[in-house]
């Protein structure tokens, strides 16, 4: 059984899912890729948008899309370093 993910890992999975889809992803695709419930994803996305990691767009056809901001890309590049820092000191 897969261990429970912490907040850092969940945010990484969401941002990574967006990045993998060419930085434009439908809400349902994030739901499948991030392996979260609808409500949890909604809460996390709301938090990520308010903190400036993710932005929400509506394309010409009216489709909803999420994409990463520069801050979101920075989080992904910092994730492994922070994870290694936490592992060094046993913080997780």
């Amino acid at each position: 059984m897969k261990r429970k993910r912490d907040r850092l890992e969940i945010i990484h999975d969401i941002l990574h899912a967006i990045k993998e889809k060419g930085n434009k992803i439908k809400p349902t695709h994030i739901l499948y890729k991030s392996n979260l419930s609808h409500q949890m994803l909604k809460d996390y996305l709301g938090d990520l948008i308010s903190k400036g990691f993710v932005e929400f767009n509506i394309n010409k056809k009216g489709g909803k899309r999420y994409s990463l901001t520069d801050k979101g890309f920075k989080y992904l590049s910092d994730y492994y370093v922070i994870r290694e820092f936490e592992n060094s000191y046993g913080l997780n």
């Binding site: 912490d6 907040r7 850092l8 945010i11 989080y75 590049s77 910092d78 492994y80 370093v81 922070i82 290694e84 820092f85 936490e86 592992n87 060094s88 000191y89 046993g90 913080l91 997780n92």
Partner: protein, 226 residues
């Protein structure tokens, strides 16, 4: 009396420089942990950052007061602010160093518990500070307590080593082991100045390991950014 009282004469000044270096390294790690906390909002990181900040502040205070003792600046300051006893002024430095170091170590130990409850933290803090400041031999009790906390931390970090099996985890575990041994040396430094010197050298190796870990992490960050 300041910590320099326990130093051999030929080591005067070197201890000031080393303590300042230790403070810089600790503050660098504290800042790194704080930035990680801003990004992740993991509570462990803020406790960790605060603990390193307090320990860093304790070394800055030790460095400043040792410098003032060596250069006789303490006597000048006492005259200027009308403190009658230079020994009392020096004691303030020792007590402030012990205060901040104790808070830092207790926070670090509390962080390893991984509990939400704050009461164990307050209990540890109060009991530690009361034990130190109400004892007859404050320095001895301080070094004994700090050695116990460091031993606890050594167990935590070596346990972490077994889980993560990385060079970085081993570096940190080794660093804290050296810090534990250095604090044992400071207990004996109360009677023999050579132990004061040895304690500082062991601390130097410990903090260099912590610095190396930080540098390796920053290099990893640069590699991933490029």
């Amino acid at each position: 009396m300041s910590f320099s009282t326990f130093s051999p004469e030929w080591f005067f000044g070197y201890d000031v420089a080393l303590e300042f270096l230790f403070a810089i390294i600790l503050l660098a790690v504290a800042i790194f942990a704080f930035r990680a906390y801003k990004l992740t909002e993991q509570k462990q990181l803020i406790y960790f950052s605060l603990s390193f900040l307090f320990i860093g502040i304790s070394y800055i205070i030790e460095s400043i007061f040792n410098y003032m003792t060596i250069t006789k600046l303490n006597a000048t300051i006492c005259q200027a602010v009308k403190i009658k006893s230079v020994a009392l002024f020096d004691l303030m430095g020792i007590y402030t160093h012990m205060f901040f170091m104790t808070i830092g170590l207790v926070l670090l130990v509390y962080m390893t518990f991984k509990v939400e409850e704050k009461r164990p933290l307050w209990l540890l803090l109060i009991v530690s500070l009361v034990a130190i400041f109400f004892s007859w031999n404050k320095l001895l009790i301080f070094f004994l307590l700090s050695s116990i906390y460091l031993l606890f931390l050594v167990a935590h970090f070596f346990g972490n080593c077994i889980i993560h099996k990385t060079a970085n985890a081993f570096m940190i575990a080794s660093a804290f082991f050296l810090l534990f041994i250095s604090h044992l040396h400071f207990i004996f430094a109360l009677n023999s100045s050579l132990f004061y010197f040895a304690g500082h050298i062991l601390e130097l190796f410990a903090y260099l390991l912590i610095l190396l870990n930080l540098v390796l992490l920053k290099n990893e960050k640069k590699k991933r950014s490029s």
